[in-house]
Symmetry: C2
Subunit: 232 residues, 2 copies
C-alpha cells in the first residue's frame, strides 16, 4: 500500500501532477474556489479516477460532496513538485534553438528562470550581460562560476550533436544534476544524474507511424515518458 509518506512518486504521476497544477492555475484565474476530480480531469486530459488516485498519493485533500479546495491543493502541489519559488536553469548553446528558448517568456510563468546561457563562440556572447531582462550569454569557460553563483541544478543542452557529450561532462562537473537535452545523441551520465531527451525526429517518426492509413489507433499523448536506462 502506497501512501503519501512514501517519497516514491512514479514518473507518469509526477507528469500528471504538473498538468493538474497548470489546470488549477487556470481555474483559479477564472475565480473558482473548489474543483471536483471530474472537472480537474476534464481540464487536464485524464480520467477522474486517475486524478483522485494521484492526489491521494501526495496526501489527502478533497471533501466528499464538494471537491478539492483549489488554492490549498495548488500550494500542496507546488510543495511536492518543489516549484514554490523560481528555479534557476542554465542553457548551453546560444544558437538558433538556444536563442528561441532565451526569448521564451513561458519559463517564468511555469516556475523556472533561465538565468544564464553559455557558448563557445565569442560572436554569441552578449555585451550587456543580463541587463534589461534579457538572458546573458557567457563564455563556456565561466560555466562553473556562474552555475555556482546561481546555485543552478538544471541545465538545457542545445549544442550540436558532436559537442553534446563534452558539454554534458562539463555541466556535471559544474554541479548540474538534471539535463534537458535537445541534441539527438545518447548521453552517457553517471549514476545520480537525470537526463530528459527531446528528440523531434523521434516524435515525428512516431506520429507518422500512428497516422498511417491502416487504422492503428488515435490518441492524444503527452510527450513524456520514461524509458529507464541502466548506466554502469
Amino acid at each position: 500500500m502506497k501512501n503519501h509518506t512514501d517519497q516514491r512518486i512514479p514518473y507518469r504521476t509526477v507528469y500528471r501532477l504538473s498538468l493538474y497544477a497548470r489546470a488549477l492555475q487556470r481555474l483559479l484565474e477564472r475565480g473558482a474556489e473548489t474543483v471536483s476530480s471530474q472537472t480537474l480531469a476534464l481540464a487536464s486530459g485524464v480520467k477522474a479516477d486517475q486524478v483522485r488516485k494521484d492526489l491521494t498519493q501526495i496526501g489527502h485533500f478533497g471533501r466528499p460532496g464538494l471537491g478539492y479546495p483549489i488554492t490549498s491543493l495548488l500550494g500542496h502541489l507546488h510543495d511536492v513538485l518543489g516549484t514554490t519559488r523560481l528555479r534557476p536553469v542554465i542553457l548551453v548553446g546560444a544558437g538558433r534553438l538556444g536563442r528561441a528558448l532565451m526569448a521564451y517568456p513561458g519559463f517564468n510563468k511555469e516556475g523556472f528562470e533561465l538565468v544564464a546561457a553559455f557558448d563557445c563562440d565569442p560572436k554569441q556572447y552578449s555585451a550587456h550581460s543580463g541587463k534589461n531582462g534579457s538572458v546573458p550569454v557567457y563564455p563556456i569557460q565561466n560555466l562553473s562560476k556562474v552555475v555556482a553563483r546561481h546555485n543552478a541544478r538544471l541545465g538545457i543542452v542545445a549544442v550540436p550533436a558532436e559537442s553534446a557529450q563534452s558539454v554534458v561532462n562539463q555541466l556535471i562537473e559544474a554541479g548540474i544534476r538534471g539535463i534537458l537535452n535537445f541534441s539527438p545523441v545518447l548521453l552517457q551520465v553517471p549514476e545520480g544524474i537525470t537526463v530528459n531527451n527531446v528528440n523531434l525526429a523521434l516524435e515525428l517518426e512516431q506520429l507518422h507511424y500512428f497516422t498511417e492509413d491502416s487504422a492503428h489507433s488515435a490518441k492524444t499523448s503527452h510527450a513524456k515518458s520514461r524509458k529507464a536506462i541502466k548506466h554502469r
Copy 2:
C-alpha cells in the same frame, strides 16, 4: 501471441525502433556489417532482451551466433516505420521557435522534410517562396491548398497558446492527421487524429522533481510517452 502479422506495435516499441534505426545508421557508417542485440542495445540505451523482443515483433531476422545483418535490418525498420522516403511536414507559426525549426537541417537527415510554413502575420511571409532551399512562409489562408499540393499528413504547431486550438482545427480541416504541438495547451481533436505534445515546462518540472536532494532515482529517459486520452 503477437507476431509480425499483427499490425499493432505499441507506442514504446515504435519509439525504440526509431532509436535502433538511428543507432544502426551510425554503426553502418563505421563499417560494421552485423550487430548483436547486445551491441545494438548498448548503442541505443536499452537492454538486449528488449531489443530482441522488439525485433521479433516486426519479423524475425538475427542469426544465432552472429547477430543481425545491419543493412537488411535497417531496411526492414524503415519499411515498418514508413520512413523509406522523405515525408512532408508543414509548420504553423513562424515566430522564434518556428524559425529555429525552419533552419534546422536535422529533419532531412531523419527522413522528414519541412516543406512549408504558415503565419497570420504578413511580416513573416517570405518573399522568395521556397527558393534557395529555405522553407517558404505562406499566409495561413493558403493552408489547405499547400497541404494538398504536398500531400502532407504531419503538422507542427508553434503558435501562441491562445491561437493553438484554432490553428489545429484548420490543420485537421486541411487534411493533417498527426500534430506535433509546442504550445502549452490541451488540444481537442476528433477520433483519428494523433497529437504529440512537447511541453518544456513539464519536462523541466519533472527533471526538477527527480533531481531533488532526496535520492529518488536517477535514470536517463526519453522524452516520450503516451498518456492516452479519450475524446468524445
